[in-house]
Symmetry: C2
Subunit: 218 residues, 2 copies
């Protein structure tokens, strides 16, 4: 039953990564055009978005880690934002560290630049809802694997959260449960960046993952 294409094609996972890379490429190139209009460049825009998600402020090293760049690059980027009066450096806990915060203007710009990948959202919406949900579920799995491997900074995802109860309601259309808001939910509600997320202890996390990742969800 093996098709000829199984032997003559590149591996499936390779074609998938190629596809993801193509999307990454266009995101990068769009970021220059789109974010450029708002007067900020891609990395600066990314930094604004990250700072917006951390209203209590963020250290430079943390920002560098999240951006996936070295400390000097982050330092330069922040300096540029400060020069544009979109962010400010406030004293941190130490006298050597500092806390980064957005200014009023920064908030405004951050909201505006958060829209730049809208063209991609439009493309995603050509998938029907159940396909989007399955796609999101697969993305979560991929990102978790990257995180587990140390290839990506730790994300505030449901699947590694203390309040996540996968398949607490088997058979239901909303089979999972969030113990924080005490409500059931489905794959389509999975979050990558929940403000309420708290990392679960290792043992709980592994058990939850095993249960969540089972093919049939059984």
């Amino acid at each position: 039953m093996t098709a000829i294409f199984d032997s003559i094609s590149e591996p499936l996972s390779r074609r998938v990564t190629a596809g993801l890379a193509k999307i990454g490429l266009v995101l990068r190139s769009r970021a220059w055009k789109g974010a450029g209009l708002a007067g900020v460049t891609p990395t600066q825009g990314q930094a604004l978005a990250l700072l917006r998600e951390a209203p209590q402020g963020m250290k430079l090293a943390a920002l560098a880690h999240l951006l996936g760049v070295s400390a000097p690059t982050a330092s330069e980027t922040v300096s540029a934002l400060v020069a544009k009066q979109l962010a400010e450096k406030t004293p941190g806990s130490d006298r050597r560290s500092l806390t980064l915060k957005l200014t009023q203007q920064g908030e405004t710009i951050a909201l505006r630049t958060a829209d730049w990948p809208d063209f991609l959202g439009t493309a995603v919406e050509t998938l029907d809802p159940s396909e989007q949900a399955a796609f999101l579920r697969a993305l979560v799995k991929i990102i978790r694997a990257l995180q587990e491997n140390g290839d990506i900074p730790v994300q505030r995802m449901c699947v590694t959260c203390r309040h996540f109860r996968p398949y607490a309601h088997p058979g239901s259309p909303t089979p999972h449960h969030c113990a924080f808001v005490d409500a059931p939910f489905a794959d389509r509600h999975l979050r990558l960046n929940c403000p309420e997320q708290e990392p679960a202890p290792a043992e709980q996390r592994d058990a939850a993952w095993t249960r969540f990742a089972a093919p049939a969800g059984a």
Copy 2:
């Protein structure tokens, strides 16, 4: 049956694009580290990969378009590659245009740098095969939508190919058919970059797409 999460969450498509953006971010940052070892930078590596797929050579403007950058940027990038003796400029059809080709060394490096997203391949392989296939299918849909919208250069995909016969074998595990090699295939074999691809005329393309995209494939 609407869950509380439907009202308090960001839209599904937005969370999907956020996930794709996160993967794009790590690809970018990895490209600096990984490709840096081979002595080429991300854009240069990307250019090598594109040139490798076009053994007959490529014009500068075409490369710029595929890279998603302006002509000056492409010109600089190519100059860097030529200086490193990884590519060469040969006369084109005109006396103003030129044809870009890889050198022997360039081939070697292109093969090496083609490996850099391997860490992502490893993560993708944590999905079971049927989930990978569904993921690829969804990626194809997204990329097609981007292409249709002019957000991404035209790709050599099965779904827009003259030889593509979606669901020519309904009910079979390999329901589609490629008229070029005259063999059946499945979603998991879909290609994003087939050397044999020839764009189908508009009418055929639309008919094939309608048939392919139908939820049940019926």
